[in-house]
């Protein structure tokens, strides 16, 4: 690869040809501020916050898109550059509501950070008569995320993620000039369009223009209600991320501290979604064996990820029979929390308030689906994202660093390493294989680490010898990658038995409800934390979880049995992309 030598702020820098000035400066330890730029996803040179002075060039250059040149002399912080950046920022702020104190992104906002870094002390302009979005334009129609176009800086990072990573583009720029807003087509509400509710847009938005829907007040109210038994469950991926909200490194395992925090907040029972992840493996593994031996629809595809479910309902309703009928672990545990648990504990189910802590905004949508009432009540009352739980902890003045490590409550708190890895892409597959192998062959698996399905590659495949059968599996994360496998299935070219799909990049550890920032490095650290947590657990296979054996013996009977079918399985709704598909019955996935 040819290299180029240039000078940046009096330093000689040698980089590969084609590198941008931004990357070259970074190599030399110089951070150029950016706003619209997002590595590998959005480099459109739109905001002009990153301008630099290039000797001999007529105008300032946007460092995020301008390539380096041999002998180039770049100044990243001359008077001219600083003035220009400041002016750009002031223009952005000229129609920005300055509501930081009451904004969900207060203290974690890139616009704030830029103002602070640039030393902005006043905003000299206002847009006057030019039309800007107003509070009436706030779209809180969806249970998962809220759009507040007033706070939008038109960086289009959300659009890029939705289009390039998820292949959806539920939102995009409409109108022109000052009237441009990022919105669904026809300025519809998000709940009425083909949005997967994944929340990836809320992860990348630099401001408070797209956020999770904050449901913390509902939970505070329940905690304050003496008549309510408030029960909470925590998803696998939350334990390797929440500590970031309190200044610790990404991937720090904080299971015990999270449990302690929940107890201090006043939750009456603290259960673990990991328990129902193990349960999922029992149900889904049995379903897979049944489909393989009895000629059911193959490949079977996992159904844990509600953004993925909504996506396939919109885009591939004809393929719904491929989905496992298993509910997600959140909804399995939700049903048990209002059916099994109250029977067991002698509590009236109507007094139970069921909360879950999830890395995911789509889970908020899932919890309020019509199908999710199998206990006779809404199985999960409120879903909080990792970010919202952290907010509650700050609200309550909990000092994370000095929290002790505590344990989950019985009977729905015990889990295995197989459940922890549900949080990372490939994890459900690996957990399923650990169990299916042993159930089918009745032998111990020689090496339970299924490394070919781990890691950030978009689509991973493996073939495993299980008894006499060559089992072919595939794993995809992001909806864009899922689409590639779905197209293969449609063309009849997918010879896999089992496919895992996770909606978000990296799996749930990279979910739309996780701490901000969530970027590639952060994802990798959380994945590392996930596999470390797996290795540290004494039991690493779902079928060896004694609490699982127990609940089948005492209550459920057997996987796919009558009670399992009622509480733990579901059906899907063909939605279509822009209109309801014809000829596909509702609940068409029952096979």
């Amino acid at each position: 690869m040819a290299t180029v030598t240039l000078t940046i702020d009096n330093q000689k820098v040698e980089v590969e040809q084609g590198t941008t000035i931004l990357e070259a400066a970074k190599n030399a330890g110089i951070e150029i501020p950016t706003l619209c730029y997002m590595k590998d996803i959005n480099a459109i040179g739109a905001c002009r916050i990153c301008v630099v002075e290039v000797e001999g060039a007529r105008a300032l250059q946007a460092a995020c898109v301008a390539p380096v040149g041999e002998g180039m002399v770049v100044k990243t912080n001359s008077e001219l550059v600083r003035k220009s950046r400041k002016m750009t920022l002031e223009l952005i702020l000229s129609d920005h509501p300055q509501e930081c104190l009451t904004c969900l992104r207060n203290t974690n906002c890139e616009l704030q950070a830029l103002s602070e870094a640039f030393g902005l002390r006043e905003v000299r302009f206002t847009r006057g008569a030019a039309k800007s979005a107003t509070a009436d334009d706030i779209d809180d129609s969806a249970p998962s995320i809220v759009r507040d176009p007033r706070k939008c800086v038109l960086c289009r990072r959300c659009v890029a993620v939705c289009e390039k990573v998820q292949g959806v583009k539920a939102i995009g720029p409409i109108n022109r000039g000052f009237e441009t807003v990022i919105a669904p087509a026809f300025d519809q509400n998000l709940i009425d369009v083909n949005c997967a509710m994944c929340g990836q847009c809320s992860l990348v938005c630099p401001t408070g223009a797209i956020t999770e829907k904050d449901d913390t007040e509902k939970v505070w109210a329940a905690l304050n209600d003496a008549n309510k038994e408030v029960v909470v469950q925590t998803a696998p991926a939350t334990r390797v991320a929440i500590a970031e909200e309190f200044g610790q490194d990404p991937g720090t395992i904080s299971t015990g501290k999270m449990v302690a925090a929940l107890r201090r907040l006043g939750f009456n029972k603290i259960f673990d979604t990991d328990f129902s992840a193990d349960l999922t493996i029992m149900e889904e593994g049995t379903e897979l064996i049944q489909r393989v031996t009895q000629g059911g629809t193959l490949p079977m595809i996992t159904s844990c990820s509600p953004g993925w479910i909504k996506y396939i309902e919109h885009y591939y309703p004809d393929l719904l029979p491929h989905l496992s009928t298993c509910k997600s672990p959140q909804q399995m545990l939700g049903a048990l929390i209002k059916d099994y648990y109250p029977k067991n504990a002698g509590i009236a189910p109507e007094n139970i308030y069921s909360v879950s802590i999830m890395p995911c905004t789509a889970k908020k949508f899932e919890a309020q689906r019509d199908e999710m009432n199998d206990s006779g009540y809404q199985d999960v009352d409120v879903v909080l994202t990792t970010r919202e739980l952290a907010r509650m902890c700050r609200n309550a003045g909990i000092d994370w660093d000095t929290l002790p490590e505590e344990n989950y409550d019985d009977p729905l708190g015990m889990s295995t390493g197989a459940a922890v890895i549900f949080g990372a892409t490939g994890g459900v597959m690996e957990a399923a294989v650990r169990t299916a192998y042993e159930l089918i062959t009745k032998e111990e698996m020689p090496d339970i680490n299924l490394t070919p399905v781990r890691g950030m590659e978009g689509i991973k495949e493996a073939t495993l010898k299980v008894g006499d059968l060559d089992v072919k599996v595939a794993v995809a994360h992001t909806l864009g990658n899922a689409r590639k496998l779905l197209d293969l299935i449609r063309e009849g070219k997918a010879d896999h038995h089992f496919i895992e799909v996770m909606c978000c990049p990296g799996g749930c550890i990279g979910g739309g409800g996780q701490p901000i920032p969530t970027n590639l490095d952060v994802r990798l650290a959380r994945i590392a934390g996930t596999y470390q947590a797996d290795e540290e657990l004494p039991i690493r296979k779902s079928h060896e979880n004694p609490a699982i054996t127990d609940i089948y013996e005492k209550y459920l009977g057997q996987p796919l049995g009558e009670l399992s079918h009622k509480l733990l399985h579901t059906h899907y709704v063909p939605r279509g992309v822009y209109r309801k598909p014809e000829g596909l019955p509702d609940g068409g996935s029952e096979h």
């Binding site: 720029p173 409409i174 109108n175 022109r176 669904p184 087509a185 026809f186 009425d192 822009y578 309801k580």
Partner: protein
């Protein structure tokens, strides 16, 4: 997203549009060409046709709508036979354009930006037309009506069929 179209359009896609749609099936590059043809055919872009464009060309509907709202050559609502523009620029405003505005809305029973049910009029508001000396200014199909008053609205509009 419902299948029903609530823009009151009865527009059936013509044979020409059908042909264009099949010519560009699966080809997002045809977006502007197809939209321009629909605009020409109908005088605006009916919602159900925009959805068909998205489906057949395999373009996200947000892009179809984004393009439709970006270029001024495209309109999203049917236009009337006669086009009223009322100036609400500063000079016209202080000389009583708001009363004229209300009178037009009352006379036609529509809001600014809309078209009457019988497609006789489309009423839009504009900014300074550069004719402040004869404010308040209204134009109909480009014909200038100076020094408008609320009282004159009915009479002026009656000249346009």
């Amino acid at each position: 997203m419902g299948a029903e179209c609530n823009c009151n359009c009865q527009a059936d896609s013509s044979k020409k549009i059908d042909e264009l749609l099949s010519q560009y099936r699966g080809n997002p590059n045809g977006l502007i060409v197809v939209l321009a043809a629909i605009q020409q055919d109908n005088g605006y872009l009916p919602k159900d046709l925009m959805i068909r464009v998205a489906e057949e060309l395999n373009v996200p509907l947000t892009d179809v709508y984004g393009v439709a709202t970006f270029y001024t050559a495209f309109t999203l609502r049917p236009r009337g036979r006669n086009s009223i523009n009322l100036c609400l620029g500063t000079a016209c405003y202080v000389k009583g354009a708001p009363e004229v505005h209300d009178a037009i809305e009352k006379e036609l029973k529509i809001k600014a930006g809309d078209t009457t049910e019988d497609r006789r009029f489309t009423f839009d508001v504009v900014r300074c037309l550069g004719a402040c000396g004869i404010a308040p200014v209204m134009t109909v199909n480009g014909e200038v009506h100076p020094r408008m008053t609320a009282e004159k609205v009915s009479e002026v509009l009656s000249k346009y069929e």
